[in-house]
């Protein structure tokens, strides 16, 4: 029984931040290693325009192959069109990014809040046409919820409003995303409480954090202590821009697994197999892409074991 679900987002969030296009076979080798390590959920790609993100052009094919593995498949979708593309592959979860910063929303998906709610409504309607057993879980991720690199501070009241509206418009759940790595633990606690008090605890169970300012695990701890049970992370902290020295991507799966397991929480992950997945990742990534994480180099403390229970 897993206590905390680590949703591995490297194949989506990690790759979209780097320039190279990874061959499909390489992606699949890496995803297979992630699944073999016991990670319960993998975001395998995003159904965006291949012109905008050629790295994601093979997402449907990747999802199809990953479907055969013993792992939940998540896919990012910016709109109904993306949903239609991925539905035949029967993803377990689809995530739509709704930027709290409208400026960011326009730059990211070229849509205003109003236009995004129209997409949410259309997607929710489309999913209702499916038999229940075939419906993916529909999450709306509130991007830039902790601050925006264009607008600066983001109104917490607006985060709550958008969350409420997303749920009313048909999302199964909302998630909080610290897209820009601006967040701090107090803000994480405050925002989770504010959103949950309006949409209900069962409609906010996950958070997506970046380690841009080194706060990843501290923010994850705060989220965990507030009762969230799904934490996004990426192997090797993938997602840093190779042209921004020191910039980091998502929180590092390896260090997160150590933290949770050391705290006595079951992640379902086998640490040795996770190290093999890290090797697989290093094997397929171009050398100039930085890989993060301290626990892989330090190893587990003497006497500690992290194996699937």
């Amino acid at each position: 029984m897993i206590d905390v679900t680590i949703s591995e987002v490297g194949p989506r969030d990690g790759l979209q931040n780097i320039d190279c296009v990874l061959p499909t076979a390489d992606k699949l080798r890496w995803i297979e290693a992630l699944a073999a390590a016991g990670l319960p959920e993998i975001e395998v790609g995003s159904c965006v325009s291949p012109k905008l993100l050629p790295q994601m052009a093979d997402t449907v094919e990747v999802a199809r192959s990953a479907r055969t593995l013993d792992v939940q498949i998540a896919v990012l979708v910016p709109n109904l069109k993306g949903v239609e593309r991925i539905l035949p592959e029967r993803p377990d979860k689809i995530s739509l990014p709704l930027s709290v910063s409208e400026t960011h929303s326009r730059r990211n998906v070229n849509r205003s809040h109003e236009e995004m709610f129209a997409e949410i409504a259309a997607i929710a309607g489309r999913l209702k046409e499916l038999p229940k057993a075939e419906r993916p879980h529909f999450e709306v991720g509130l991007s830039t919820a902790f601050g925006c690199t264009i607008e600066g501070p983001v109104s917490e009241a607006l985060v709550v409003d958008l969350a409420v509206r997303a749920v009313r418009t048909g999302a199964d759940e909302v998630g909080l995303s610290d897209t820009t790595g601006c967040g701090n633990p107090s803000q994480v606690r405050r925002l989770i409480r504010a959103v949950r008090s309006e949409v209900g605890s069962e409609k906010l169970t996950g958070i997506h954090l970046h380690n841009t300012r080194g706060q990843g695990l501290a923010n994850a701890l705060a989220a965990l202590e507030e009762g969230l049970t799904t934490l996004d992370a990426s192997l090797g902290g993938l997602g840093g821009c190779p042209f921004a020295p020191g910039a980091s991507g998502n929180i590092v799966t390896e260090d997160l697994v150590f933290m949770l397991e050391a705290m006595g929480l079951n992640t379902g992950v086998d640490f040795d197999a996770l190290m093999r997945a890290r090797e697989a990742l290093i094997g397929v990534l171009p050398r100039e892409i930085p890989i993060f994480g301290f626990t892989p180099d330090a190893g587990l403390p003497l006497g500690m074991r992290v194996g699937a229970r």
Copy 2:
């Protein structure tokens, strides 16, 4: 008014972990920049045998010069002999490392627990001879309190016993040290509660954390939420061994300042001046020594200011 005291330990803990011997003038330039950034306390060195740690041979001289700065001066001492050496410089604080792992204690200071308690008694006796205004604060740091690289897991009951005995033997205060970076947030909370319930909250106010497995800020957050008010850290996370890839030293002052200030806590630190101190450090350190920290590269989030209040 400062809410959290960051005790900068780079000039002691950072330098003792690297091979090069920094010229005294370089150390002082770095320490001056740290003080100018508003850090309230600096551990400037340790009074150990110069044969064992040539990096620390000039500690008395460094302390004498640093005394003229507007900053509290802390010095590590392994025994009464070290105390005698530093007393004429009127340090504000002296810290004696008492390893919970007796194996580590023998290797680190070549003394058993019994021998260390004899030192503690002798030091406490010596300090009582001084007029109160001239007495440095005497802290006993419980090293390897979260695990030992030689013995493995460490008994929490033993940590509490040693803490109680250190206070009874005359220490003004005990501190918890995660010397090996084994600790996790649950353990931090548990151990703080256990020790404080036996020695009283005022006798445990500080913690010394390493970022060996990336848990530094998460552990610092847990300590803070348990009510501790002094956190050791080092600029650039100095302390990693240049021959152990990825091994990190203490928690990174820059990222810690960002976390605390973003949480609305005053550290007294001016961020721009802290960046100048980082430049000063980089300027005096050999190139092969790794420098850590994410916030310096990412910068503060748009719209945030961290200046002395």
